[in-house]
């Protein structure tokens, strides 16, 4: 049934009333969480993420061994949420590598990531007070093709004998190829992706794995900026509401009350 117009010819699309309400609600909840965190009313804490804590360890190990760190954001473009999360962590890793004079090799598959990574690593080197550590030739677009990219990364990991292999971004079938290559090179491996069907490969082959949202909140975890942590608090509130809706909806549907389900599909 078409919904009535809200302004002139403008109307909510049929079947999108509930998504519209949820969209506004989510924005409001997160905005409120940021506000309350900034005012100090709530002081949320993110639980420990061993994989992120291990980044320092990984960079330290690479520094001791005199071998490079390899970082890849995988196959996605700069609009992919996993790549964005990977880039947040990259700025931290790049700064650490610059501080310790450790070589950092960054690889990616989609060309539009290149200018972002260049700026990020350059700024990290400058922030560490070591602009001379910025090496554009170590920021490598290998190929837009999945397995050509995989072969290139495998080659870099094996030839350069990387001491730390950070796989944080969007990965598909090549995830196991990267992880095995890193294992053969004797690297400490930290991986993270939201692709549920690649997580098992990372879990079995890597030392530390960020599963799904852990990758996405890693940037906030590293920075510990209150407003960023506030958004995670808001996200958890939305999760609680979602769980409540699922439980209530399941019970009501099971007892034969289908109106709640229809209301959610409005």
């Amino acid at each position: 049934m078409p919904l009535p117009p809200i302004c002139g010819e403008m109307a909510i699309k049929e079947g999108y009333m509930m998504p519209f309400i949820l969209f506004i609600s989510c924005m409001a909840i997160i905005g409120l969480s940021i506000y309350l965190t900034r005012k100090g009313v709530i002081k949320p804490k993110i639980r420990r993420l061993p994989a992120i804590d291990a980044i320092d360890e990984a960079v330290g190990r690479a520094t001791e061994l005199g071998r490079p760190v390899h970082y890849t954001v995988g196959l996605g473009s700069v609009s992919n949420v996993q790549v964005i999360a990977g880039l947040s962590i990259l700025s931290y890793v790049a700064r650490k590598c610059a501080e310790y004079d450790t070589r950092l090799i960054v690889t990616f598959s989609v060309p539009n990531v290149q200018p972002v990574v260049m700026d990020l690593v350059k700024e990290a080197c400058m922030a560490a007070g070591k602009p001379e550590n910025f090496k554009p030739e170590d920021i490598r677009w290998l190929s837009g093709r999945q397995f050509s990219f995989a072969t290139g990364v495998m080659g870099i990991i094996m030839r350069e004998k990387v001491a730390a292999n950070l796989l944080l971004g969007y990965f598909a079938a090549e995830s196991l190829i990267f992880a095995e290559a890193g294992f053969r090179a004797g690297a400490i491996q930290i991986a993270g992706t939201t692709n549920s069907y690649q997580i098992p490969f990372f879990v079995t082959t890597c030392d530390y794995t960020l599963i799904s949202e852990e990758l996405i909140i890693a940037g906030a975890y590293i920075s510990q900026i209150p407003e960023q942590v506030g958004t995670i608090f808001g996200q958890d509130l939305i999760r609680l509401i979602t769980v409540a809706l699922i439980v209530i909806g399941s019970i009501l549907y099971a007892v034969g009350f289908k109106d709640f389900y229809l209301w959610l599909n409005m």
């Binding site: 539009n112 972002v116 990020l120 093709r145 995989a150 196991l176 095995e180 920075s223 996200q235 939305i238």
Partner: protein, 217 residues
């Protein structure tokens, strides 16, 4: 001024575009929907220009290596295989209107080199899975044992030989995939979506700036 250009304008553009596209998804209004359509096409075209940048940088990197007499063979092969099909395909398309998808040389390179290469690297996964499974699948704990047993049941169910060994494997496998797997994957998908919402809000408010090539303060 520099901060406005480097920080504020990109964030404003991002916020406007994101909210505009969200409005297009939720709201029915012909002008809005039409502009959103055009915006998506524009995004597609802009993304393609980044390819030109990356090809240029890759060429520069390998040309420098050749000049320094490092990785001569690899860089030569890369530059030849990058530029020759590209130039030839563009030439054929611009002069004769021949689409690269049917141009014989480009298709020959694809079918003869690229396609078998892709298949070969994908096939390597079979070996890697075997070695990773052999090395890592240990019943170290209760959870690991459950994972191990579930994995074995599903593997046997998906291969015809499993049903020959015991007809119960497919039934058990269906239960594993339909119940615990469905619950687990749904949670992972939902968590990722919720985290993405929070990430996008952080981006729109300027707290997350990795996508701009800027570190967080």
């Amino acid at each position: 001024m520099s901060r406005v250009i480097k920080r504020d304008i990109p964030i404003l553009l991002l916020t406007f575009t994101a909210l505009f596209q969200a409005a297009d998804t939720l709201i029915e209004e012909p002008t809005l929907n039409s502009y959103a359509d055009s915006m998506r096409s524009a995004a597609s075209i802009i993304g393609t220009f980044a390819l030109i940048l990356s090809v240029t940088l890759l060429t520069r990197l390998h040309t420098r290596r050749l000049q320094r007499r490092r990785t001569i063979i690899e860089s030569t092969v890369l530059l030849i295989s990058l530029w020759i099909p590209l130039v030839w395909g563009l030439w054929q398309f611009s002069m004769g209107g021949v689409s690269p998808t049917i141009e014989p040389f480009v298709q020959g390179v694809f079918n003869g080199i690229v396609s078998p290469g892709d298949s070969t690297i994908y096939a390597i996964l079979a070996f890697f899975i075997a070695s990773a499974a052999y090395r890592a699948f240990r019943a170290r704990s209760v959870e690991a044992t459950i994972l191990l047993v579930a994995g074995i049941i599903v593997m046997l169910a998906k291969a015809p030989i499993g049903e020959s060994i015991w007809s119960g494997f497919p039934i058990l496998s269906d239960w594993i995939l339909n119940v615990p797997n469905r619950a687990g994957v749904t949670v992972i998908i939902l968590s990722a979506i919720l985290a993405s919402i929070a990430l996008y809000v952080r981006m729109m408010l300027g707290y997350e700036r990795g996508w701009m090539g800027r570190a967080a303060e």
